[in-house]
């Protein structure tokens, strides 16, 4: 498939010849992404028709109008890290938002920033920490797009306990709809600035995204204001030393605690209490191996550390919680410390002592999200077969059932990696818990890939049967509505409404919808 010459010229007129490409070698960079192999037979999905690099909303609008005129499917992305950014069975026009990478404004007083589509978490954090603020962190790491996580994709990370879930931080939003019209959400539409994204009247933020974003299936977001959270750390991170484990100075008003619990119930109670007491800067539960991954310099070093660890240590570390507290004053830190001791006492927690060699990397990871990519070193691929957000007890149960009833068989057969006790979970804001059960596999091993596919398909069926979740993170990580269709018999007809919304806002069906819905 290729663009007609007329369409190509129309696009070229908009972005200029330097910013459009049909070069196959370049296009292949836009259809290659981890986990493709779990959906397709290859690491490559369908090659895009072309790639364009707009630099303004006018150019984006022009591109979308051309797509409507020539009936071309398009999808935009920022960092392009995950399948929902790039993957599809059919070729489409890939809109790489890389040239729109400006931090438009930071309102320090009112705690929000306005960013263009490509601004990464690290770039925004770098700027906001100078004024005592920070954006929400993103699970994929610091290079992830802040706007994408807030408006279009998923949006959780280590600091979600304090900085909330990406889906809950957007304020004013500038959005090129699939028909090429520009919709400005909230205050932006009335010319009042960027400080609110809801209203007038019913909030169209609800169309832009839900639990997950529309993942490119409903137009292109070009600018958005995102809420920021107080940052009590220094105006710049103080790192020194050598790569790849840089030394980083942990500010005095930050404290990291790793607690090990006798069982899942106590672990869960710990999270319930810490969230209610609102003392966490970052809080998550993950396999103890994640600490080893962060503090070793390579996959091999990691394995040496883990394999040298006595079995009783691994057993004691089966259920751990990682908590980092920040404090706006020494009094606050003392109070939080004392309170934590009480919580740990109540939940029979054991403090896991960490040396500075581990503390620094954990701090860096909790603050910046850096380190997440290392998971690719120890296997080569990973997927989260079960993702959900609800009460602590339900995510606990989900993690347990997934581990025991979905993964155990494949681990025993050696088809997926034994990465330690699943799942990863963390609070999002003060209300609910988020969980991801990670399955790690080898991209080169057909048996391993086959196992992952089976797990995904089984998860789609079992999670709804357990009344715990819909697979594929309720759609935004589900390709071609696979998870939604499997869950339909157990749910109210959310898919029907989504399809109506898609039809109403994308009458020509040009906004590529592999990870959204098709009418």
């Amino acid at each position: 498939m290729s663009l007609s010459r007329e369409a190509y010229r129309a696009l070229e007129d908009i972005v200029g010849p330097e910013n459009i490409s049909e070069e196959p070698a370049i296009l292949d960079g836009y259809c290659f992404v981890w986990a493709n192999e779990a959906m397709f037979d290859d690491r490559f999905s369908a090659r895009p028709l072309a790639v364009v690099l707009p630099e303004s909303i006018e150019q984006v609008q022009g591109i979308v109008r051309v797509c409507n005129r020539f009936n071309i499917q398009f999808r935009a992305h920022s960092s392009g890290w995950s399948c929902p950014a790039l993957s599809s069975k059919e070729s489409f026009l890939s809109i790489d938002m890389r040239r729109m990478d400006r931090i438009v404004a930071i309102d320090a007083k009112n705690k929000y920033a306005v960013v263009e589509s490509y601004v990464s978490m690290q770039k925004l954090f770098l700027q906001t920490m100078k004024v005592g603020l920070r954006p929400h962190t993103i699970g994929c790491g610091p290079s992830g797009g802040i706007l994408a996580s807030a408006t279009s994709n998923f949006g959780c990370g280590n600091t979600s306990a304090s900085s909330d879930f990406g889906g809950r931080v957007p304020l004013g939003v500038e959005w090129v709809l699939p028909d090429g019209e520009i919709l400005r959400l909230g205050t932006l539409g009335t010319g009042s600035g960027w400080f609110s994204g809801d209203g007038p009247g019913p909030s169209l933020r609800g169309i832009m995204r839900g639990y997950g974003g529309a993942t490119g299936g409903l137009g292109v977001i070009t600018r958005a204001a995102v809420k920021l959270t107080p940052w009590y750390g220094p105006p710049a991170l103080k790192a020194s030393g050598k790569p790849n484990i840089y030394d980083i100075e942990i500010p005095e008003n930050f404290q990291i605690n790793v607690a090990a619990f006798p069982d899942r119930d106590q672990l869960t109670d710990f999270f319930v209490l810490v969230v209610e007491e609102a003392i966490a800067f970052a809080l998550h539960r993950s396999p103890a191996a994640s600490l080893a991954i962060l503090s070793t310099s390579s996959g091999d070093d990691f394995w040496q550390m883990v394999s040298a660890s006595p079995p009783e240590v691994a057993e004691a570390m089966k259920f751990i919680g990682v908590l980092m507290m920040d404090a706006g004053s020494p009094r606050e830190m003392q109070y939080r410390y004392d309170l934590l001791q009480k919580i740990m006492e109540r939940t029979e927690a054991m403090n896991f002592p960490m040396g500075p060699d581990m503390m620094g990397p954990v701090f860096r990871n909790l603050v910046t999200g850096q380190g997440q990519q290392r998971v690719f070193n120890i296997t080569t691929g990973f997927l989260t077969a079960a993702v959900n957000e609800e009460s602590w007890d339900s995510v606990k149960l989900l993690g347990q059932r997934v581990a025991e009833e979905l993964y155990a068989k494949y681990e025993a057969e050696g088809k997926i990696a034994i990465t330690g006790e699943n799942p990863w979970f963390a609070p999002l804001g003060d209300s609910f818990a988020h969980t991801e059960s990670v399955v790690s596999y080898d991209q080169f091993d057909p048996e391993s890939i086959k196992a992952v596919r089976e797990i995904l398909a089984e998860a789609d069926i079992k999670l709804p049967q357990w009344h715990l979740a819909v697979g594929g993170a309720e759609g935004c990580l589900s390709f071609d509505e696979a998870s939604e269709k499997a869950a339909a018999p157990y749910c109210l007809d959310f898919l029907g409404y989504e399809k109506k919304i898609k039809k109403a806002f994308d009458p020509n069906l040009v906004s590529e919808s592999s990870f959204y819905v098709k009418p």
Binding site: K109, K111, D164, R168, E181, L183, R184, G189, T190, G191, S192, F195, S196, D198, G199, P200, G201, P202, S203, L204, G206, I207, G210, Y211, A214, K227, P230, L273, E276, G328, R331, Q334, Y335, D338, K342, E389, E390, S391, W392, G429, D430, F432, Q465, H467, L468, V470, G475, C476, E484, Y490, C491, L492, D493, F494, L495, E498, I501, A504, F505, Y516
Partner: protein, 487 residues
């Protein structure tokens, strides 16, 4: 009669009022909305009845006006815009379905008021997030469906809070549950799996709850909602921080918010605080005169495992902050006691509603802005009042930081003597003309009642087009509260 019969078949005759029996408060309220009598009022008691009513309305092309709070009403949103409408009065739906201490959430029907919810939550060690001294008949669900601000910005992470999931009968007649309540499984099955309907987002890639908020009943009728609660404080200290200069209090508030200290945090002018604290208009005037012009109300809750220690450290930190602004954390100011304020702001208003105590009636102008811009709006409102010959001293002012301080609600309570028709006309003019002026200054009428809709939607055709698309999906026949917003 046809209408009455149709509705009686659904809810029973005793729950339908029609014709001249319809009480006046369904036809008109404290707003300047034109009085229009509904042809009937129907009072369902179950979701199934509500659904049957909506289906009936679609079959008979009857407009429905949902209403959950008792009178008096202030915004005009529950007054029919057209003749022939039926008001769906949900005040009978008073079940508190569930209180879940561990997840700090309750599930209630639309007729539940704050006064009814508070004791039910207290028993479980919880407290609601409450709007500023709501009127006694105010529905909890309506408050938060309408994105009314509550007094604790720390818990207001973003605009949707504290509303999580809802059950709704859309204008189409279809029942849906938003957020994580959509499934999989029934509510009972979800509870058995440990779920608690605490995720308001979604389901899937649409935020269905958000589409109902601010809708003034134009999309459907909510039959229950799960709502975020907070731990019941074991101890609590409230302070009055006063200043002649609003800007100083605003700067202090920003700092408190940045430090994430305390719970209740809002700023009122002397008249508003006095009206909240006093019943008698003379006493209101007297205390308003003795109070400093601006009062920041600030509380620290002691809850959880170390309540006293929490209050102690936060108090010490707050004191230091206050001192750095040359402010004091007072327990008494201008005859107002912080303890009294604390009690009063934790409960609904006693009768008469505090906004009506001073002059007998009140008209509110409210919008969103950021705190740093509020002095400019206040100045402008005083000018507008002066130009309209309205006594500015009769204007209550309330500034509520929202979304943890990212923006704020500002509310002007124009208190008037209901008998003084001339003054009412002046206020009406200030309302309609002032709205335009304020909108030009950047006021965001996120809840555009009555004439404000013109200025909220006027500048932005695309928002209107998009909202109408949404409306056509959920209420394809346009039976839900037509004539409101941009529908």
């Amino acid at each position: 009669m046809v209408v009455k019969n149709g509705l009686s078949n659904i809810v029973g005759t005793e729950n339908v009022i029609d014709g001249n029996d319809v009480p006046g408060h369904y036809s008109g309220d404290m707003s300047f909305a034109a009085s229009v009598r509904p042809q009937a009022v129907v009072k369902p008691n179950t979701m199934e009845q509500v659904q049957a009513i909506v289906k009936w309305a679609n079959e008979t092309s009857t407009n429905l006006i949902p209403l959950s709070s008792g009178p008096p009403h202030f915004r005009g949103d529950t007054i029919p815009a057209h003749e022939g409408a039926v008001v769906v009065d949900l005040t009978r739906m008073k079940k508190i379905i569930r209180v879940d201490r561990r997840n700090r959430v309750c599930m209630v029907e639309p007729g539940v008021t704050f006064g009814e919810l508070i004791p039910a939550l207290e028993k479980e060690g919880l407290a609601p997030l409450i709007t500023l001294v709501p009127r006694s008949h105010k529905s909890v669900i309506t408050s938060f469906l309408e994105r009314e601000p509550f007094t604790i910005p720390r818990f207001h992470w973003e605009a949707q809070d504290p509303l999580y999931c809802v059950e709704v009968i859309y204008g189409s007649g279809d029942m849906f549950r938003t957020g994580s309540a959509f499934g999989p499984g029934t509510l009972e099955e979800q509870w058995a799996a440990g779920r608690a309907q605490v995720r308001g987002m979604g389901p899937s890639q649409v935020d269905f709850t958000r589409l109902l908020q601010g809708a003034q009943g134009t999309m459907g009728i909510v039959t229950w909602a799960s709502i975020k609660c907070r731990p019941l404080p074991k101890i609590k200290e409230t302070y009055l921080v006063t200043s002649d200069k609003l800007e100083t209090l605003i700067d202090f508030a920003y700092k408190i918010l940045w430090k994430k200290l305390g719970e209740e945090l809002f700023i009122v002018n002397s008249l508003t605080l006095s009206a909240i604290l006093n019943q008698d208009s003379n006493k209101i005037a007297e205390m308003a005169g003795s109070l400093p012009p601006w009062i920041l109300v600030y509380s620290i809750d002691g809850s959880g495992l170390m309540p006293q220690e929490k209050v102690d450290y936060q108090k010490a930190d707050s004191l230091e902050l206050a001192q750095s602004f040359g402010l004091e954390l007072k327990r008494v100011a201008g005859g107002a006691s912080a303890d009294d304020v604390q009690k009063i702001i934790s409960r609904p208003s006693t009768e008469p509603y505090w906004k009506l105590r001073y002059r007998g009636a009140c008209h509110d102008m409210l919008f969103l802005t950021t705190m740093d811009k509020t002095p400019g709006f206040i100045k402008k409102m005083h000018e507008l009042a002066g130009d309209g010959n309205y006594p500015a001293d009769d204007m209550g002012i309330y500034i509520q930081p929202m979304s943890q301080g990212t923006n704020c609600h500002i509310e002007f309570n124009l208190m008037i003597d209901p008998e003084n028709k001339g003054l009412a006309e002046k206020v009406s003019r200030i309302d309609s003309e002032g709205c335009e002026t304020l909108a030009h200054m950047g006021a965001f009428f996120s809840r555009p009642y009555g004439p404000w809709a013109k200025f909220a939607f006027g500048p932005d055709a695309q928002t209107v087009i998009a909202l109408r698309k949404v409306k056509s999906i959920f209420d394809p026949n346009g039976i839900m509260n037509p004539g409101k917003l941009c529908f």
